[in-house]
Symmetry: C2
Subunit: 315 residues, 2 copies
C-alpha cells in the first residue's frame, strides 16, 4: 500500500533477495519508511539499509557501468514484476476478485435466478465462509459472467468505472492506493537507469492494463497477463473484439516464463515476485528461475510478507 503519513500500521515487508551468483544466495532484510540517515538523493528512500537494498543498488550500478564486466546494453534491460502481493496488496482477496464480486452485485437485478443458484447465491448473501470454500469451477462461473460476453472496450470501461468508485473495506481507500511504495521506488529507479519495466501477472491482462500506466507508470504494451479467448466480430458495422468465456492463456507458474518469452522475447535481467516455491504450478518461481538461468548479472527478488508488525497481511 502507499505509505500514508500519520497512519499507524503500515508497510513492513521482509524480503529475500536472490542474487545470481551461480548458486542462490538468500539474503534477508526489511524495509520501512524513511527514518533519517539515508543518503541525500537516495533512489530507494522507503527501504531500510540492508542486503536487499544493497543488492538492488549494486545490480543497477554494475549493469549500467560500461566498464563493468556485468554491463548490460540498454536494449536488454528488462525487469519484470508480479503484481498481486508484489506491487499491490492481495489481501483479503485479489483486486480482480473484488471487481468480479462487485459486478455480481450490480448485475443481480437482471438475474433473479442467482438468488437460488450457487456460487452467485453466496456472493449475494455476502457469505464469506462459503466464498472462502469456492472451487476453481465456482470462480470460473463468476469470471464467465463478469468478464466475458462483452467487447474489450466495454470491459475496460467497467474496470475503470469500478476502480473510480470502489473502496477497499479496511482502509476505505481506492484499491489502486494499496500499492507498495517501496516497489514504486524500484520501478522508477530501474526506469531511470534505462530498464524497461514489465508487469507479469497471473491476473487478467486487460484488467491490469486498465490502470497500470496511471498507477505504476507501466504502459499497456508492457503488461503480460492471463487472458481469455477473444474473437473478431462486426457489430453495427464496426469491428469489435469479443471476450469469450473460455481461458486462452494462464500467465502463472510456468506460464510466467512462457508468457515472458512469448510477449517480450527477451529474458529479464531482473525479476520480482512474492511466491517462489518451485514445486508450485502457480506463482513466480518459474519466472525467477528463468531469469536466473540467463548469463551475466541477474537480480531475482522475492517479496515475502512475513512480519505482522509493520505490514498489513489481511484478515
Amino acid at each position: 500500500m502507499k505509505i500514508i503519513p500519520g497512519q499507524k500500521a503500515i508497510n513492513n515487508v521482509s524480503r529475500r533477495a536472490f542474487v545470481s551468483s551461480g548458486a542462490l544466495a538468500i539474503l534477508s532484510t526489511r524495509f520501512g519508511m524513511a527514518s533519517g540517515g539515508q543518503a541525500q538523493g537516495d533512489p530507494l528512500p522507503s527501504w531500510n539499509e540492508g542486503p536487499a537494498k544493497t543488492a538492488i543498488l549494486g545490480f543497477v550500478r554494475d549493469t549500467t557501468d560500461k566498464s563493468s564486466s556485468k554491463y548490460v546494453e540498454p536494449a536488454s534491460r528488462i525487469a519484470t514484476f508480479d503484481q498481486d502481493g508484489t506491487l499491490w496488496t492481495e489481501q483479503p482477496v485479489y483486486g480482480q476478485a473484488a471487481f468480479a464480486l462487485a459486478r455480481i452485485g450490480e448485475m443481480a437485478p437482471s438475474h433473479p435466478e442467482w438468488k437460488d443458484k450457487e456460487p452467485f447465491k453466496s456472493v449475494l448473501a455476502r457469505d464469506h465462509a462459503a466464498m472462502g470454500k469456492f472451487t476453481e469451477g465456482d470462480w470460473l462461473q463468476i469470471v464467465a459472467v463478469t468478464h466475458a460476453g462483452m467487447n474489450t472496450e466495454v470491459f475496460q470501461q467497467l474496470v475503470k468505472d469500478w476502480l473510480a468508485k470502489a473502496k477497499a473495506p479496511r482502509f476505505d481507500r481506492p484499491y489502486t492506493d494499496l500499492v507498495y511504495q517501496p516497489m514504486l521506488e524500484v520501478l522508477q529507479y530501474l526506469r531511470t537507469n534505462g530498464f524497461k519495466t514489465y508487469i507479469v501477472t497471473g491476473g487478467g491482462i486487460e484488467f491490469v492494463r486498465a490502470y497500470s500506466e496511471k498507477v505504476y507508470g507501466v504502459p499497456p504494451e508492457q503488461v503480460v497477463g492471463s487472458s481469455g479467448l477473444t474473437t473478431y466480430d462486426i457489430s453495427s458495422g464496426k469491428p469489435v473484439l469479443m471476450r469469450e468465456a473460455k481461458p486462452f492463456f494462464i500467465d502463472d507458474g510456468p506460464g510466467k516464463a512462457i508468457g515472458i518469452n512469448l510477449f517480450i522475447g527477451r529474458r529479464p535481467q531482473a525479476a520480482f515476485g512474492n511466491s517462489g516455491s518451485t514445486d508450485m504450478k502457480s506463482g513466480d518461481a518459474q519466472m525467477l528461475e528463468w531469469t536466473q538461468a540467463g548469463e551475466g548479472a541477474r537480480l531475482m527478488m522475492l517479496v515475502h510478507h512475513d512480519d505482522a508488525k509493520r505490514v498489513w497481511r489481511g484478515c
Copy 2:
C-alpha cells in the same frame, strides 16, 4: 528488396493508401528510386511524389503537431507492419518456408525414411510442382519437424545460422537483403517522429525475432506473430522452453486484430499491409479495419505489388 545501385530490375510498387476519413479513400501511386526533384532532407527519398507519400507526410505532420486537432500523444503513437510482402519479399516462397525446406535437406541424413515419405520426398527431390500443391497438412508436417521438438534458444540459433549462409536463388543474396527500401524509410521516419513500430506477422514470432532488430530496427518485444505451444521444462538442471508441434496462436486475418490487442493493448494509429480483402480469413484486412475503427487520425496503407516493370514479383 534493398535498392542495389547498378541493378536493373528493381522496386516498383504500386500502392493503395487508405486514409481514414469516414469512408475508405483509395489512393494509388507508385514509388521508385530517388530520381531528383525531391526536397532536401526528404524523409522518404525512395518514394515518388504522389498521394501515398503525401498521405504519410500529412499523417505524421498532423499527429505530431500539438496545435492540430489530430495530435496524438507520443505514448499512443503505435504503427504496425505486416512483414511478408510488405517489408520483405514473399516470392517465390515465404522466407520462413525457405528455412523449413532447407532444414529438411539438412536433417535428411538422419531420416532415411523421408526418401519415400511425402511431403518430405518431394522436398528432397526439389519437385517444385509437387510442393506447389502441398496442402496445409503437408506444411504442418514440415513445420512440425523443422520448428518443434527443440528449445527456443536452439531454434533461434538455427534461424540465425541459416540466415547467415542462405542465399535467395534469384539474387544470390541473403534473404534479409530482400527488404523494401521504401518501407525501411517509413519505419525510420515514423520512429523519428515518436512512433513505436511493431511487426504484426502471420509468420512465426520467434523466427522473425531472430533478425527483426538487425534488419528493421524493430526489437523482439515489438514483434507480434504466430506461435506454437511452448512448455516449461528442466533439462540438465536448467529451465528451458520447449517448442511443441502444436499451434498456439495464429496471427493472421482476424488474428492480427486479436494479436494487436493481446500483445500491444493499444489500437494502432497507422497500419501497413499487403493483403486486404475483408472476406479473407488471412492477411491484413482485419488489422487495417481495426486500425481504421479508432477515433482521430489513422493511416491505413495497402502495399500492392501490381507493376511487373519495376518490382520483382517472383516466378
